[in-house]
């Protein structure tokens, strides 16, 4: 009777804790960092890629698609970008669910789903997995960068327990404590997207293990509002665009040969 043991996976411990959720959170704090900053005219997300290597085939990310390498940045709906930290396969399943929910809302109400509503719907599902027997929680935290006419630009965070909260700037994954204290020091209200991009990249370069930033370790996305189209504009950067951005921000990897020459 396997059920006798399986149904005990998410019950309270005698100290009143839910270990499975704590373990899930622990798993996330080892995952690649995802950072989000809310600006007055947009939202900026950046993420550290962990699955890298010379032999990894990234041709799909370089051409085609809507940008990103499909590891951490996802377009959930035309007005929401999701950044995920945790178990990638769990995240894929949640992203799929989020997209379905967003499209169902579009079908029923003929409008883009409000950002908080989408976060809520995902959290309802995540919470369900902490309560019913025989299931384990999703090992995923998400950042939602979105726009809707109710509250304009928004940034939400949700964790495996099903809690969610809105933020001006936040970070999930490895070194999130360091990143958050950096953000607390440097964040200013009514920051512009341009400044937010710089802030995100600076904090990212300090929290990541590697010394230099490059498109092979970084994913990047910006949500702004397109005044001409009267609609939010989600942009997930392609690897070449990330390198160009890093160069313009003066954070690009220096060519070792040129360094040798200059000395």
């Amino acid at each position: 009777m396997a059920r006798r043991y399986d149904s005990r996976t998410t019950i309270f411990s005698p100290e009143g804790r839910l270990y499975q959720i704590e373990y899930a959170m622990e798993a996330i704090s080892h995952a690649g960092t995802v950072l989000g900053v809310l600006a007055k005219d947009g939202v900026v997300l950046a993420a550290e890629k962990r699955v890298t290597g010379k032999l990894l085939d990234l041709s799909g990310a370089k051409e085609g698609g809507y940008g990103g390498s499909g590891e951490k940045m996802f377009l959930l709906n035309s007005n929401v970008i999701g950044g995920v930290a945790g178990i990638t396969s769990d995240a894929n399943s949640l992203v799929n669910y989020a997209r379905t929910v967003a499209q169902q809302h579009l079908l029923q109400y003929n409008e883009d789903i409000p950002v908080e509503l989408l976060a809520q719907r995902l959290c309802d599902m995540k919470q369900g997995y902490t309560q019913y027997g025989g299931l384990r929680p999703f090992g995923v935290s998400l950042l939602y960068a979105g726009y809707d006419p109710h509250y304009q630009f928004q940034l939400y965070h949700s964790d495996p327990s099903g809690n969610y909260s809105g933020w001006k700037a936040t970070c999930i994954g490895a070194n999130n404590g360091t990143a958050q204290s950096l953000l607390k020091q440097e964040y200013k209200d009514d920051i512009s997207v341009k400044d937010a991009i710089g802030l995100v990249l600076r904090v990212m370069s300090k929290t990541m293990d590697s010394t230099t930033l490059g498109s092979e370790k970084l994913e990047f996305a910006v949500l702004t509002y397109d005044e001409a189209a009267k609609a939010p504009k989600a942009k997930i950067y392609k690897p070449s665009e990330i390198d160009a951005l890093l160069k313009s921000e003066g954070l690009a990897k220096k060519d070792e040969d040129t360094e040798m020459k200059s000395t």
């Binding site: 029923q108 109400y109 003929n110 409008e111 908080e116 509503l117 006419p149």
Partner: protein, 194 residues
Amino acid sequence: METSFALTGKGYVIVAADTTAARSIVKMKVDEDKIKELSSHLLMAYSGEPGDTVQFAEYVERNIRLYQIRNLYPLRPSAAASWVRRSLAESLRSRNSYTVSLLLGGYDLATHTPNLYWIDYLGTSVEVPFAAHGYGSYFALSLLDRYHDPEASLEEGLATLKRCIDEVSKRLVVSPGKYKVKIVDKDGVREVEL
């Protein structure tokens, strides 16, 4: 015969509906309210098959209230109109469909604009500057075409409505006697006496 009008103006929507409840050739009642207040900034005038009208209006009212309770903010007029349209389109394809005509007027707090939707039992939904249902529409639409001004003040809007009502009273054989008039603007919904 049942008649309802609605028109938009500068920052408001006026919705008016007659107040007679009739069965066959008999007037049963002359103070029936056929305009539901769906939420703080949303009005719906309904007419059509007796019984269907009230049943469907209450169904819409409660579903919109439920959305508001569940999701912290109310549905915007455009979203509400889409939902109502879909409900009617699904109903039309069932064994027993609702035969109701609706005018949905609301003030969108997110974009600060008044919106008006003309909806019929076939699941047609159109956003319009002015609208009418029933026999009165044959007289009122041409008048509204001539006199409607989307930038009109509330007084001017009510004067245009008065023109429509007077014309219907003058020309329609079985014209309704009394109308209920409700307004929705940035401050919410309220009833006015003409």
